[in-house]
């Protein structure tokens, strides 16, 4: 039940973000799907007691792989899909907690939380990068025999 709730909300949230970024109408549902799959993987990983950082890394990686597939299938720039897919993974809650602790003068906790938020952002970046590199390698090896 809780999973269903998470899937539905992440789908709607990602599609709504596609709309805010003015993504083409025919891609809105795909944006939602990319976001939902990314969030599902993140939740599944954290429920298997994986830390938030590797979970984010895996989710960002999968989001980019699916975005690449969609981009190729629908001949649309990849950024249309990957942006909406990445949004749910952004560590907004952690960044907020960090700031709240700064305001309350708990600098030690704030620094810990901020570093964690930063690491998660880094994990998103590496996930994006990693799948991109693999995609480039596949494309290059496809071109060679021809």
């Amino acid at each position: 039940m809780m999973m269903l709730e998470q899937l539905a909300t992440s789908f709607i949230a990602s599609a709504a973000f596609g709309l805010i970024f003015n993504a083409p109408k025919r891609t809105l549902l795909h944006c939602g799907a990319v976001g939902m799959i990314g969030w599902f993987i993140y939740i599944a990983c954290t429920q298997m007691n994986l830390d938030a950082i590797p979970s984010t890394l895996i989710a960002a990686f999968v989001v980019t792989v699916i975005s690449q597939l969609f981009a190729k299938l629908y001949k649309t720039p990849i950024i249309v899909f990957s942006v909406s897919g990445i949004i749910p993974l952004v560590p907004g809650g952690l960044a907020y907690d960090a700031m709240r602790n700064v305001v309350e003068d708990h600098y030690d906790i704030a620094v810990q939380l901020a570093v964690k938020a930063f690491m998660i952002s880094g994990a998103i970046a590496i996930g994006l990068l990693f799948s991109e590199v693999i995609n480039q390698i596949i494309r290059k090896s496809e071109r060679k025999p021809g």
Partner: protein, 252 residues
């Protein structure tokens, strides 16, 4: 000779226009360069060079009819529909189906038209997205309505304010102040329960998702200047939101 001058002049114009539209609407820098070089190659100019930063494009053609042009980009917004439409046009050009005059006309038309969803629809989307994020961050359904209100009002306010105040970071800061105040007000009146979750949810529509993604993609494509400056943009936005919320929390 003069014929080829006219020709390369028009091709330069087409390339710059295509690049300008992509850059102004949130496309990645490497896509801009790629598109311009591809269009030039499709029209028979093999030696073209482009240098793109988030604030300007320099495009040069080598050979018998040399030409260098510069375009300054002052305003940037997010419109992925336009990016993908230019992408479609550039695909058609690459296959050789589109003559230069026709392509130029199509791009000019694309440049002048807005192609956006109506503002009210975006505001509704922001409101719904806010409450969805509340649930995703393990908030309770009881807070869904206050988050929807705070997120929707905040986003509407941001759109209006950004029209009046051209400095984006200031607009984001003020919006964050408003969202924080609204959330505190809701909780104070007993309308909402969990202040933290309400603020996080309603701030989400302002999160700089596009600059983050574009910055990473630019950095790894080797466009260090654009990647770093887009990263700085994302960081400043995050900072503006954080500072606005922090200001409210410190008074509360």
């Amino acid at each position: 000779m003069s014929q080829s001058m006219i020709n390369s002049h028009e091709i330069t114009q087409i390339c710059l226009l295509a690049g300008k539209i992509i850059l102004q609407n949130g496309g990645e820098t490497y896509r801009v360069e790629d598109t311009m070089v591809r269009i030039a190659a499709a029209y028979g100019i093999e030696n073209s060079h482009s240098f793109v930063t988030p604030t300007g494009i320099i495009f040069a053609i080598d050979g018998s009819s040399q030409m260098t042009k510069l375009i300054r980009i002052n305003e940037r917004s997010t419109n992925l529909l336009k990016v993908s439409l230019v992408n479609d046009i550039s695909r058609q050009i690459s296959t050789g189906k589109l003559p230069a005059g026709e392509a130029h006309r199509m791009l000019q038309e694309l440049d002048t038209q807005a192609f956006t969803y109506p503002s009210w629809l975006k505001i509704v989307a922001a409101a719904i997205a806010s409450s969805c994020f509340l649930i995703m961050f393990q908030g309770s359904w009881r807070d869904a309505l206050p988050v929807m209100l705070a997120g929707g009002i905040g986003f509407a306010f941001f759109l209006q304010l950004h029209r009046v105040v051209p400095i984006k970071f200031f607009a984001e800061f003020i919006t964050a102040l408003l969202i924080g105040t609204l959330s505190v007000f809701f909780v104070h009146k007993g309308f909402g329960t969990d202040l933290d979750k309400i603020i996080i949810g309603s701030v989400m529509p302002l999160v700089p998702g596009l600059p983050i993604t574009a910055a990473v993609r630019d950095l790894m494509a080797g466009h260090l200047v654009s990647g770093l400056s887009k990263g700085a943009e994302a960081f400043l936005t995050a900072f503006a939101i954080g500072a606005g919320i922090a200001a409210v929390l410190s008074f509360y």
